[in-house]
C-alpha cells in the first residue's frame, strides 16, 4: 500500500492481529489476521454486521479483551511505531485515555450514574495529568465548551441522567479528547441517536479530527454513516478484513462479493419498486469456520477454488485490496 517512507505518518498500524476466545464450544477466531492502517488526522471506517469482529478488534487495540476467555494470540498493534501488544498492563494503563481514547454506542452506560459530570471529567483528567483540581476544572470547562455543551459550568454539577443522549455523547467526546490523544476509537458512536443529533455529533468529530489531527477509527454497521465520514474503509466479515480501499473506490466499485451484496441490501430510492438483494444463509459460527473462504457458502460467485483455498488480501487496483479469488470479476459478474 505505502512505502516505508511515510510509515511515520501512520498513527495506527495493525499487523496480523489475531484474537481468540477459548470457549467450551471451541476456539472462536474472533479476529483473524487483521491488518489496518490509519494516518494521522484521517478517519478509517471499520464496517461489518454484528458478530463480524469489529468491536473485538477495537477492544484488542485498547488491550481490553476480557481474559479469560479471550486473548490476543499474535500480531502487532503499532501506535506511532510502539507495539501496544507487547506492553505491560501498567504501561498500557498510561496509554489508555492519554494516547488512545474510546467512545461507545451507549454514553449512558459509559458514564457513572452516581457521580456528577464534573466529578468524572476532572477525575479522568487528573488520573493522567499532573494538574490541580482547579486547573483540571478549567480544562474540563474548556473541553465541554469545545464540544458544544451549553452552560458548561452548570453542566459540571449535573448527573448523567439530566442530559439528553446527544449531550451525554458530547460529554464522552469531551472526556476522550481532553488529554489530546493521537487515536480515537469510536464504536458505533451515533447508533443510539436521532438523525439530526447524529449529524451534529458526526460534524463535531470531523471538526475535532482536523483541529487536533486525531486519527479516528470509526466502527459502524451503517454504510450511510461510513459514506459520509470515512476517508478509508475496511470491511470485516467473520473475523477477517475482506476488502479495504478509499471510501470513493469502495462505494463505486466494490471488489468483494460480500461488500457488493451489503450495498445492494440497503434500501434506497433507486431500489424503489424492486426487491432488495439479500445474502442467503447466515454468518458461520466463529468456532467452526469453513475450510477455504469464510464467505464461500453464501457467495454467489463461489467456485471450487474458494472451497479449497483460503483467499488472502491482495491489491486489485491502487490501494484497493480484496480477499477474493475472483475479485477482478466481481464487477462484471454481479452487475
Amino acid at each position: 500500500m505505502s512505502g516505508r517512507g511515510d510509515d511515520n505518518h501512520k498513527v495506527l498500524d495493525v499487523r496480523g492481529l489475531c484474537t481468540r476466545f477459548f470457549t467450551s464450544a471451541g476456539v472462536a477466531r474472533a479476529v483473524d489476521e487483521v491488518a489496518l492502517s490509519l494516518q494521522r488526522g484521517k478517519t478509517l471506517g471499520l464496517v461489518g454486521e454484528s458478530g463480524c469482529g469489529k468491536s473485538v478488534t477495537a477492544l484488542s487495540i485498547m488491550r481490553l479483551v476480557p481474559d479469560p476467555p479471550g486473548r490476543i494470540t499474535s500480531g502487532e498493534i503499532l501506535l506511532d511505531g510502539q507495539d501496544l501488544a507487547s506492553l505491560s498492563e501498567k504501561r498500557m494503563r498510561e496509554i489508555r485515555g492519554r494516547e488512545v481514547a474510546m467512545i461507545f454506542q451507549e454514553p449512558m452506560t459509559s458514564l457513572n450514574p452516581v457521580f456528577t459530570i464534573g466529578n468524572q471529567l476532572i477525575e479522568a483528567i487528573r488520573v493522567h495529568e499532573d494538574l490541580s483540581k482547579s486547573q483540571a476544572r478549567r480544562l474540563a470547562l474548556e473541553m465541554l465548551e469545545r464540544v458544544g455543551i451549553p452552560n458548561p459550568a452548570e453542566r459540571l454539577s449535573n448527573y448523567p441522567h439530566q442530559l439528553s443522549g446527544g449531550q451525554q455523547q458530547r460529554v464522552m467526546i469531551a472526556m476522550a479528547i481532553s488529554l489530546n490523544p493521537r487515536l480515537l476509537i469510536a464504536d458505533e458512536p451515533t447508533t443510539a441517536l436521532d438523525v439530526t443529533v447524529q449529524a451534529q455529533i458526526l460534524k463535531l468529530l470531523d471538526e475535532l479530527r482536523r483541529e487536533f489531527s486525531i486519527g479516528i477509527l470509526f466502527i459502524t454497521h451503517d454504510m450511510a454513516v461510513i459514506a459520509q465520514t470515512a476517508d478509508d474503509v475496511a470491511v470485516m466479515y467473520a473475523g477477517r478484513i475482506v476488502e479495504t480501499a478509499d471510501v470513493f473506490s469502495l462505494f463505486k466499485a466494490p471488489r468483494h462479493p460480500y461488500t457488493r451484496l451489503l450495498f445492494e441490501s440497503i434500501p434506497t430510492e433507486k431500489a424503489r419498486g424492486s426487491r432488495l438483494r439479500t445474502i442467503k444463509g447466515t454468518v458461520p459460527p466463529l468456532t467452526h469456520l469453513p475450510r477455504g473462504c469464510n464467505f464461500q457458502k453464501r457467495c454467489p460467485l463461489a467456485i471450487e477454488r474458494c472451497i479449497e483455498e483460503d483467499p488472502t488480501l491482495r491489491e486489485i487496483a491502487g490501494g484497493h485490496l480484496s480477499a477474493c479469488h475472483r475479485a477482478e470479476e466481481v464487477e462484471e459478474l454481479m452487475r
Binding site: E49, S50, S164, G166, D194, V195, T196, V197, Q198, A199, Q200, L202, K203, H221, D222, M223, A224, V225, A227, Q228, A230, V247, F248, F251, L261, L262, F263, S265, I266, P267, T268, E269, A271, R272, R275, L276, R277, T278, I279, T282
Partner: protein, 331 residues
Amino acid sequence: MTSNGTVVEVRGLKKHYPVRQGVFSRVAGSVRAVDGVSFSIARGRTFGLVGESGCGKTTCARAALRLVEPTEGDIFINGTNILSLSGKHLRRARRGFQIIFQDPYASLNPRMTVGAIIGEGLKVHRMASRRERRRRVTELLERVGLSAGAAGRYPHEFSGGQRQRIGIARALALSPAFLVCDEPVSALDVSISAQIINLLKDLQEETQMSYLFISHDLNLVEYICDEVAVMYLGRIVEQAHAEVIYERAMHPYTRALLAANPLPDPEKRREKILLGGAVPNPASPPQGCHFHPRCDAADEACRLQYPKLVEIGGGHLVACHMVDQKSKTSQ
C-alpha cells in the same frame, strides 16, 4: 372497506397523558403525545410515519389499534369506528388489525413454543380446531420462510431475523386487513433486514394488507412507503406522496431531517448541521408553532399561533405559516 378503497381512517386522534405532581398527585398538566393526527390508508398501501424519538409516532400507532386508549378521535377500520366498540365486539374486530414490533427478543413469550405463539390468535378467536390450527401454523411458518419443525421450538433458539419472522407469522394468522409495523427492522443487520423487508412487500402484494410503517430510517421509509407523514411533538407537520416528501419537502423540519439523513454514497456528502438544539420537552412545548425555536425562517406569527395543516396541492399537506403565506401569494 369503503368504496374508495380506504381501509384505515384516523381522524383527530389524540392521546394526552396527565402529568401528576406533589403529594396528592394533583394533575399539573398533560403531555400531548399525539395531538390531533389524521390520516387514511388505502387497501394494499403503505403509510409511513417518521420523526425523531419522542415525536409520538409509536404512541400514534398504538392508539390507532387501541393498545393505548385514545383521549379523543375516531378510528375507522374497514368502515367500523373501533372506538365505539367494547367487549366482545372489540375483541372480534381485533382480528382485522395486528402489529409487529421492533424488538423481536422482547415481543415473543419465551415460555411458549413458536407453534403456540403463532396459533394463539386462532385459539382465542376459536377460528380453528386443533388440527386445523396445526396445519395453519405450518403453512404460516413456511410462508415466512421458516421450517415446519420450528413450531415445537422456543423463541430463544432463533436469531433476531428469524424471531421477526415468527412475529410476522403471528400477525398474519388472523388474516388482518391492517398491519402496523413499528420499526420492524431497526434491531436487525442490513442483510437480514433486507430479507424481512422483501417478505413484508411480498405479503402485501399477496394479501393487499394496508401497512402503517413506523421508522426513523428515512432511506427505508422512502423505499417502502407510498405516502409519508412527518411528525414533530405529537403533530403531523407535513404529509405527501413519498416522492414529493423526498424531492419537494416544504416544511423546514422535514428539510432539516432529510439534510441530516446520511446517504450511502460518499459522492453526496452533505453540508451537515442545519438543525441546532434538540426536541423540546413534550410536557411544555413551545408556544405557537412547536418548531419555531429551531427554525431559521420563524417570525412573529410562528411564535403566536400553531399553523394549520393545509393542502398546497396534490394531497401535499404542510403545517407552516411561511409555506402557507408563500402559496397564498403565488396564487
